[in-house]
Homo-oligomer: 199 residues x 2
DNA sequence: GAATAGATTAACTAAATGGTTAAAAAAAAT
DNA sequence: ATTTTTTTTAACCATTTAGTTAATCTATTC
């Protein structure tokens, strides 16, 4: 790999921070992961806090604005929601530690979240609930879309965050079987949400 | 409070560990919280690891075997499930940081989980899925009960774990409104699960 | 090709942290 | 009352950790 030193540091920090969190990560470990002297991390990023913020901002933005991508197509709102569920499970499967990492760091220091919301403009978060509102528009018994969003995200994220627990209890610690289970969830979650929205 | 020194340490450790996790917690902080000298923690519990295990074991057992309580009554399986949902939301509301704490610690060191499962006997975890199996028994299109368990737990836990995020985005940081939202979820989650089980 | 600026390293510092110890204080036993 | 045991404390120790520094190495400029 011929990426620049700064990129190497950034990538190494990303891996370590996601795995161990801001407090659990060690600057020396990041330096080792990047294959260089620890002083270089400070040379390029000045402090651990700085390095962490740079990494966290990107990770958060990527995971949070994922909805946008599915928006720009000619399918119906309901179909868009189905595509979103498929894509989001794939996204988490490719980054299984990220959602828990985000939740932990926001709980640890909610101030970071505030500044990020302001920077990115406060709208993108509302997209999903607007979606659901549109789908429900012809329905008589409208449910607060926030309940649906929270239920949906819970159903998507929990099987990844609780994996060690669930895999041991319900799958006899068979990782292969659990992976299959995770992919099955695409259909399950879509069914559940549809049934609930359409009454 | 006239509880013994050992109890004071235990209670203080419980509070701090839940809030900061095993690695984030400081022995000095626990000593301060308990109002005594740090050396006493070692006098009574020998090491941080020991103290943590004592605390974690109890917390885990309490949260995990909560199902048993709702079992011993004369209502139908479906009704029992509804009672479970109500009780579990109340339990988490009274201990909002606990589920995330458990998930984090199990991810950090899955070995602890294994030893605990063996100690407590491996059955209690299966109860909930047996429940669901019974409810579905008269239904044509049976769904793997594990999918329902995971969906249910995700819907119950996520609104608490993701609170800072969700409250800010969807509730304009109004804690009061979010508390109401959490209690509304009792009805919402029950409805969702019922609709899904009954087809 | 010497001078200059930027990149990299090894060695160091100061603060924090889990754990220890020896002595003092309190309680129990004689 | 005095000894003995248990509980509690202040001071200390060894290790870890984020961050610094001065020196070296490397590339660029003149």
């Amino acid at each position: 790999m011929d990426s620049s030193t700064e990129e190497k540091i950034y990538d190494a920090a990303r891996r370590i921070f996601i795995l161990k969190g801001m407090e659990g990560a060690r600057m020396q470990e990041i330096a080792d992961e990047a294959g260089m002297n620890k002083a270089l991390l400070h040379y390029y990023f000045r402090s651990k806090e700085n390095l962490f913020k740079a990494v966290f901002k990107d990770i958060f933005a990527k995971f949070f604005s994922r909805v946008k991508g599915t928006l720009n197509s000619d399918i119906t709102a309901k179909e868009k929601l189905m595509v979103f569920i498929d894509n989001y499970i794939d996204l988490i499967a490719a980054n299984p530690y990220v959602p828990q990492f985000i939740i932990n760091e926001i709980n640890r220091d909610p101030k970071v979240l505030k500044s990020m919301m302001l920077e990115s403009g406060a709208e993108p978060q509302m997209i999903l609930s607007m979606f659901l509102n549109e789908i429900q528009s012809n329905n008589a018994s409208k449910i607060d879309p926030r309940h649906i969003v929270v239920s949906l995200l819970g159903m998507l994220i929990f099987p990844f965050a609780g994996r060690p627990l669930l895999q041991m209890i319900y799958f006899n610690d068979d990782a292969q079987a659990y992976n299959q289970f995770l992919m099955e969830r695409k259909i399950i979650v879509k069914n559940m949400i549809l049934k609930f929205i359409e009454g």
